[in-house]
């Protein structure tokens, strides 16, 4: 705690540091301790059953020398980049639309949010059934173009995974953007209208720049979140066909719990943490450092 001699200089809330204690304890117990444990396990050999033996860098060598790691990293990157590129524009457009005052907006909003209510496993099972080339939607309705080996062709499967992931998370990000758009002062639009700006112009010149921080928040969530995608992909493709959709989290699970290699699995976990931290920091930097500065004129 800060000393009593300078009670108010450290800015607001400085003396209320103890309020953070419960959260801190929680974070320590459920994030820091396991993290240290995983770091330690990454220098051991353990099959999950017998004794844990310290083996130095063996596990790191086993993972880094394996071409499977680069492949999983690449797949993870593809899922991250493509699902970001797919989700962001759609989420912004939907968010802007939902923040408006059109007719039927409320009804449509409810419809858009349905995917958010479903569990990933349920979504995966449903899509798997719908996309089945023999019993799925295409075969059932006799629509030839829908009868593809959606989850059996490497490129198609990756595309489907990205589509389904996006389908699931676009509602959430739309919600963020909807909130962001509503924060923009109406006065700016009124001023622009007086200057003769059209809707499209207003979108590019006011809405989008004003959403900068929302975009950064949403992108951080997407990018870091996509590092840990697991359930949906596991149920839908199990990483297949072959290893076409084997993202890092799936690789970690397979090594740890199917192949009984806890050491290498921990190595991948450490890599995931590091990559996640780096990405989050990078995005913060792109965002111009201090997120708490207000962009709102006069607000």
């Amino acid at each position: 705690m800060t000393s009593a001699t300078a009670p108010r200089k450290k800015g607001r809330g400085g003396s209320l540091g103890w309020l953070a204690l419960p959260a801190l304890a929680f974070f320590l117990a459920f994030a820091v301790v396991p993290l240290v444990g995983v770091l330690w396990l990454s220098f051991t050999t353990w099959d999950g059953l017998g004794e844990i033996r310290l083996t130095g860098l063996d596990s790191w060598h086993a993972v880094l020398d394996n071409p499977g790691l680069m492949h999983s990293l690449w797949v993870t990157f593809l899922v991250m980049a493509l699902s970001w590129a797919f989700q962001t524009p759609l989420s912004i457009l939907l968010g802007v639309f939902l923040a408006g005052r059109q007719r039927y907006r409320a009804v449509l909003a409810v419809v858009y949010f349905i995917p958010l209510l479903l569990s990933s496993a349920a979504i995966a099972i449903t899509y798997k059934a719908l996309l089945d080339p023999n019993f799925g939607l295409g075969a059932g309705l006799g629509i030839d173009i829908l009868i593809q080996d959606w989850l059996g062709e490497p490129t198609l499967a990756l595309g489907v995974v990205i589509f389904v992931v996006s389908w699931q998370f676009i509602p959430f990000h739309s919600l963020l953007y909807q909130g962001g758009v509503r924060q923009i002062p109406r006065s700016m639009y009124e001023a622009a209208e007086l200057d003769g700006a059209g809707r499209v112009r207003m979108f590019w010149s006011i809405t989008l720049p004003q959403l900068k921080y929302t975009i950064i928040t949403s992108s951080t969530l997407m990018v870091v979140g996509s590092l840990t995608f697991f359930d949906l992909i596991y149920v839908m493709t199990a990483g297949g066909p072959g290893d076409a959709t084997r993202v890092l989290a799936l690789d970690m699970y397979k090594r740890g719990f199917q192949a009984n290699l806890m050491g290498p699995a921990s190595v991948i976990a450490v890599i995931l943490v590091v990559v996640g931290l780096l990405l989050a920091m990078l995005l913060r930097r792109i965002g111009g450092g201090n997120n708490s500065d207000s962009q709102l004129e006069g607000a």
Binding site: L49, N134, D149, G152, T237, R255, A259
Partner: protein, 436 residues
């Protein structure tokens, strides 16, 4: 899920009368009634057989009962491993023997039952000798074979064969000749749940065996260097890819899972003509397939021989049984209960009858006399004869190998079926994990 019933009944048995009946055992410190724990799989109809066997045992032995908990297949595999690793294993450890059992043995987590079987030769004699292979690690028995024998069977749809006016294959050449005929008729030659990967593996198991006998895989199991590069192995892998390239399997097989029984559905809905699958499919196809089984449309046979192959055509592969071990961390009282369960209800005639009623062949000798009254007697007799007459009944590869090697194997099999690696690359990748 299926837990409440079994657990509640077990609880009824323990609370009351057990204390007086426990006749002050040597370790007086162990307070409370003796209860051994038992985890098992929750899929019906097998779950019911397991639960009822436990209930009968508890009724007969109120002084030392079993308390059951059920899990779904995949959940069980992870959960039991974690529990054993954490030193909190149930008294009875249910499994598939082989490589998984070996990892428990190496960690010192399961009881050596060799001397118990010597003392209880009558129990051992009730079981098929072939079922003990996967329970034996380095010459010692660590598990009790139980439940059912499940050889892999070549199922076929008689209607599909009538449609193209052909006979079931009697050789590999017949299979390759049937492929274009079925494709021309708009029927997929073979159904396959390729996403599950072990489904593909069953094909390789038979190709290896028919071409070179069980010795080829035995060399891998015995950790011989470069055992996968055996020319017979390469030949088998090449034949496998030839069948895939000839469109032998249903379109989209690599996204079909066996867990959802979609592969069986392809067979009984007439979309595919044949399917290589475990003996357990009979029961589910009978339940889900409408009149497919009851109407006599289902045919079955052992995998045909391959021209010039050295393997005995009577050989089969699959699960020679399921296996139950006793946790070495259990208390002496719990171990006693477990052994009593092994010697009584697990091999009882009632249990054997109940397994037969599910359309499966129990590992108990003489179970065939229960078949006569069953409406599935033809299939049961076929499975029984396949299992008993087999010169070699090899255990599934993924069960025989260590979990580490099995995962690499399944991974490479998936790639082989995707045609993304050649037989030589497959052999190289697999040689690297021999003995791991």
């Amino acid at each position: 899920m299926g837990l409440p019933l079994g657990a509640a009944l077990a609880a009824c048995g323990t609370s009351g009368p057990s204390r007086p009946g426990a006749e002050a055992s040597s370790s007086g410190g162990a307070a409370g009634a003796a209860t051994a724990t038992y985890w098992y799989l929750s899929v019906q109809p097998q779950e019911g057989v397991r639960t009822r066997a436990m209930e009968r045992f508890n009724k007969a032995n109120p002084s030392g009962t079993l308390k059951g908990t059920t899990f779904a297949n995949d959940a069980f595999k992870t959960k039991i491993k974690t529990a054993i690793g954490a030193g909190q294993a149930p008294t009875l450890i249910w499994g598939w023997g082989g490589g998984g059992l070996r990892s428990y043995v190496q960690a010192g987590q399961v009881e050596d039952l060799t001397s118990w079987f010597e003392e209880n030769a009558a129990v051992k004699d009730k079981l098929f000798p072939s079922s003990f292979g996967a329970a034996t690690i380095d010459g010692k028995i660590y598990a009790m074979p139980c439940e059912t024998m499940q050889p892999i069977v070549l199922y076929y749809d008689k209607r599909a064969f009538e449609k193209i006016n052909a006979k079931p294959p009697e050789s590999w050449a017949d299979i390759m000749a049937l492929v274009p005929k079925f494709n021309a008729a708009g029927i997929a030659p073979f159904s396959l749940g390729g996403q599950s990967r072990w489904t593909n593996m069953m094909w390789l198991e038979f190709l290896f065996d028919r071409l070179g006998g069980p010795e080829v895989f035995q060399a891998v199991f015995d950790e011989q260097k470069d055992a996968w590069s055996n020319p017979i192995a390469i030949d088998a892998l090449t034949k496998m890819q030839e069948l895939i390239k000839a469109d032998g399997f249903i379109k989209g097989f690599s996204s079909i899972t066996a867990d959802s029984n979609a592969d069986q559905a392809l067979l009984y809905t007439g979309k595919a003509a044949m399917m290589l699958h475990g003996g357990w499919c009979y029961g589910s196809m009978k339940a889900d397939g409408g009149d497919f089984v009851s109407g006599g449309h289902l045919g079955y046979m052992n995998f045909p021989p391959i021209e010039g192959g050295k393997g005995d055509p009577s050989n089969t592969v699959g699960n020679p049984g399921q296996y139950m071990s006793i946790s070495s961390k259990a208390t002496p009282e719990e171990k006693e209960i477990a052994k009593k369960f092994f010697a009584t209800e697990l091999v009882s005639e009632t249990s054997a009858k109940e397994w037969v009623a599910t359309g499966a062949v129990p590992v108990i000798k003489g179970a065939d006399k229960e078949f006569a009254t069953s409406e599935d007697k033809d299939f049961l007799g076929f499975v029984y004869n396949t299992a008993v007459n087999a010169k070699a009944f090899a255990q599934s590869w993924d069960q025989a190998l260590s979990p580490t090697a099995a995962e690499v194997l399944l991974d490479n099999i998936a790639k082989l079926f995707q045609l993304s690696i050649t037989p030589q690359e497959f052999a190289t990748n697999m040689n690297a994990v021999i003995g791991k």
